[in-house]
Symmetry: C2
Subunit: 316 residues, 2 copies
């Protein structure tokens, strides 16, 4: 395993956990925070974190480090401009929850960077440096962009960082990633919001909410997430999310028609039961070991992701 | 508190838990099961349970017991016909999750019964006698039908049974109950089914399910319920459920329009956040004590339910 140094831009829940996990794995790590207050919190915990992005990037050039963008999507372009100015050909990945939008911005603002996108799929409803923990990525899925033409050396850097943090790598094309997270992360947030609003009903009648128990509590849990976090995540994945919303609207409309005409809901309920059973069957993915050589290696890696399996290390 | 004997028809999760809870509270209890196999399981646990409904109902007449119907909605008419034949004026309540449909059937098949509907709002995704437990109703909401003209003596019998089982009574008109459960129980099951089907996506691609974590797991939990239980519950509440589905479709359609045009989701996400906050605020209802006298007592009881409060005992 390489011991490549890691520079983390952004010290929120994900960036802060990454600094802790990579340091615990023995890596040389440093980072930058958006505010001096946060940087001071991180330094108080023993980490090399400042607010001088240019200085952090000069150290990247000196050490050939891997840069991890862990800022919200709207903050990405400004960071990329500094990368293009100071460390234009650096090894670059990110931890943003959408991948096509970030790739577009890298192509526009830092086109010489050796970029391989990433998405460690871990999180809590907490946020900020203090919420971070070295164990956040343990056994989590860490998606790595696996499109044709990307830099295999940086792909390996990102994979080794993911494994060092305890995660399992899921290889995926970036458009397939965005469609997948629209279905299983962004749509759930929007359906939870709709359900919470319908359940709340009229302001002068608390009977529905008073009777709400398990099914409502679970179905609306993520509606309690801070709205700005949900908006940043969902609005950055608009095209893929529209496809998922249209799929849901189509199924809900067909169900409404069946309920009004025959009164039957069997097709809806059985498809949902089958989907949940299939999800349960994916909870124990096959751990694969790989080699990054051969002509069709990226296509083979993408197949691992489509099978629902995970990559846990190199094959000798 | 009265020590009225209790006859439970049906020994699934709810009926089986009710037998255990009422016996633990010191009541004389017996019941009937749909199959000899289930009856034998219940007897092995020390309960008086057979399959001879007529014999159980003759004992009801002898002891002036309270009958609790705890069978699925489709099985209700057959039981009511036997009640009309053997114990036509018995004290009768039920534990079915819809109330207008059961009231209609009582009016049709056992019109002389002294019927006051009930709905103990407790459950797990488990079912059957073995899944039952005496503590199932602890602190649960137990809705009691509170429409004008009903038998106050039987209302008191049902309330005392609910309290004996550790539940808190929520008084509600049956049509308001059905609209409320459509919003906070039946709609959540259908949205969970839709979400599970959308998340499962195409049969040859497990990438979405492999990436599914907290938001999908919670949002689809009740899609894992046995389909026939969900169908019996939802299809029996068709009119109220149509209203809830239309509310959800309207909100989802408006959200789709906003996402496609401005790309903004703030209205949806903020309404959902507010709904979830309002739900959290109803988690600690005011415990009320009541007297069952005075001219407007039933209307006053219904107001307690609309305020989201609960009745925990008699006022001296």
């Amino acid at each position: 395993m390489s011991e490549r140094a890691v520079c983390v831009i952004g010290t929120g829940l994900i960036g802060g956990s990454l600094l802790r996990a990579a340091e615990k794995a023995g890596r040389e790590v440093w980072g930058t925070a958006a505010s001096e207050a946060t940087a001071a919190e991180a330094r108080a915990d023993g980490f090399t974190v400042g607010t001088d992005l240019d200085a952090a990037l000069r150290r990247v050039v000196e050490t050939d480090a891997l840069v991890v963008l862990a800022v919200p999507l709207p903050a990405v372009p400004d960071v990329l401009r500094r990368i293009d100015a100071i460390a234009p050909t650096c090894r670059l990945t990110d931890a943003v929850s959408v991948k096509v939008a970030v790739a577009d911005e890298v192509a526009r603002y830092a086109p010489r960077a050796r970029y391989v996108g990433g998405h460690p799929m871990a999180g809590t409803t907490e946020s900020g440096w203090a919420a971070g923990q070295a164990s956040l990525f343990a056994d989590a899925a860490w998606v790595i962009a696996t499109d044709d033409g990307l830099d295999l050396e940086v792909w390996a850097d990102v994979a080794e960082l993911a494994w060092a943090c305890g995660a399992r790598v899921v290889p995926a094309a970036i458009d397939e990633h965005d469609l997948a997270v629209a279905r299983i992360s962004h749509l759930p947030h929007l359906l939870a919001a709709v359900l919470a609003a319908v359940g709340a009903g009229e302001p002068d009648d608390d009977l529905p909410l008073a009777l709400a128990a398990g099914s409502f509590a679970d179905g609306t849990r993520v509606a309690g997430t801070r709205p700005e976090l949900v908006l940043a995540m969902c609005e950055g994945n608009r095209d893929a999310l529209l496809a998922a919303v249209d799929d849901a609207l189509g199924r809900l409309g067909a169900m409404r028609g069946a309920l009004a005409s025959t009164g039957g809901l069997a097709a809806t309920v059985k498809a949902g039961y089958a989907g949940r059973q299939r999800w349960a069957a994916t909870r124990d993915p096959m751990p694969e070991r790989i080699r990054l050589d051969g002509p069709g290696v990226l296509a083979e890696l993408r197949e691992i992701g489509r099978r629902g399996d995970v990559v846990v290390g190199w094959r000798e």
